[in-house]
Symmetry: C2
Amino acid sequence: MAKIAVTDGMDKKAVLWLEKAGHEVINSPITPENLLQDGLHGFDAIIVRSATKLTREVIDAAGDGLRAIGRAGVGVDNIDLEAAGAKGIAVVNAPRASTQSVVELTLGHLLASIRHLPRADRSLREGRWAKKEMKGSELAGKVLGLIGFGRIAQSVGRIAQTIGMEVHAYDPYLPPKIAKSQGTRLHKSIDALFSNCTHISIHCNLTEETRHLVNAERIRSMPQIGLDGARCGNHIINCARGGIVDEKAVLNALESGSLTSAALDVFEVEPVDPSHPLLQMEHFHGTPHIGASTVEAQARVGLDIAKNVNALLNQETCDFIVNQQYL
Amino acid sequence: MAKIAVTDGMDKKAVLWLEKAGHEVINSPITPENLLQDGLHGFDAIIVRSATKLTREVIDAAGDGLRAIGRAGVGVDNIDLEAAGAKGIAVVNAPRASTQSVVELTLGHLLASIRHLPRADRSLREGRWAKKEMKGSELAGKVLGLIGFGRIAQSVGRIAQTIGMEVHAYDPYLPPKIAKSQGTRLHKSIDALFSNCTHISIHCNLTEETRHLVNAERIRSMPQIGLDGARCGNHIINCARGGIVDEKAVLNALESGSLTSAALDVFEVEPVDPSHPLLQMEHFHGTPHIGASTVEAQARVGLDIAKNVNALLNQETCDFIVNQQYL
């Protein structure tokens, strides 16, 4: 039996699951001050979301019994992976819980962009019947370019193919046979992806390599015309991480017409500043980082992280250790 | 060689196609007064959209040479089918041109509803980062109910299945084996469809049988909970024809919570009155009847109707005669 601190809240079913597995769960926040003192003494594991910051200092202050850190979600920016590794503490996350939710949000943004959904609704609420201003284009017969071709992108691609799109991808870390088995054309350079695709959707991490990967020059190289000959324009979607898209470049491209629409769920600075110039653009629409904000993803993430932390505590194998290189 | 009047405009490529087929095309409006006099004398065919009204009087006033009427679109409310039939004039339409566009708009509205896209964009533009208010639900694991199971609905169903939904349908005119071959459960009553489905999308014509088919009682019978156990709520989409949905019932259901969201592309009265109470609802969004408003559908409809009218003029078979019963 282990003692587990849950400091940022957790789905009830997940707490029950851990208790049934024989653990004691203390479901309560711990202040940053207490974390730096003896707040984590006596605990074998801690499960956090994004609010609790597990810095080097906090990890060094934890008792020697701490063996596992669980992050109920994907991003581990709030955890010092190296400091944890140095103390032999494995860090696990729950990356699959939000996959389907992000896939559906991406498709929603894509369809909302090409058919002007937020803009059309806005015009109705303003009392205008602006049917003639709302001519859109179809996804069928166009090329969707996916930056990164992991779980989320593969699922987006499969649905886009059913809609009638051709799917291309750029992913330097992917074995080419995976793309091939999905009927997806894998490009060797990011520039080739842009020059072939009227619609681009981002599904990679933010790293020094991917920062401002969507820039002015690449947007200008997009073809504007579909495989079917239709003048559909160019469209960008980002439901991955802010900063991969250069927002100034997107703004300028919307103004010049080299971009027809842009839809962002994530931003370079969050929360978005109310004076952000994109919020004034007719052909932009956005959502406040809600990729994982569904009842299903939130229920799933609790159970997933409970199982992963339990596996660590029982010294079973676990596929979701994110600091293996420091252990 | 035949002489063809095109009175509501037509895509250039379609005009060229008719000319290459050996016909003379007069691409110019004819006033209602001229239509009632000799405006249609000397013409073998007329191609209209919705602006030109071909009433019994107009058809009776046409010369005896008129053999074909083409409607570049689907709805033939502006043409007296019986009067045309009585004079031996076949009426053809071009129902397939907008299929893909309506399919994609339907999916866009469905995804925009469950993830609050217009509402989330509105909150960002108001300067709020309302992430916590935007918790949505997934389509995967839910049951989509399609009212009518023709071309559009079948295509919507196929994509919904790829997303992970179970698809049900109600269509009293459909051979059950068609639904079965698509993995779709066909209900024998409309009430059974509603009580099984958390998401309902409409794909039938407006007739006396379908007017206000979506009513308060049926909305109340929807299950609120998905097959996966998630509390996803109830959702209605209408991209077919206004009047099939009782808008007062939808308004009341949004207020009482028996409906979680409603998205309408079509309305009982169009253009929508700026004071329409639905336009004030947080969980409603709408578009101004833009199902066929894409560059692709508009190009396709011209070519389709050109080919259909040409077939009639050459006495070839044509699958799109809509007044066969009066001929």
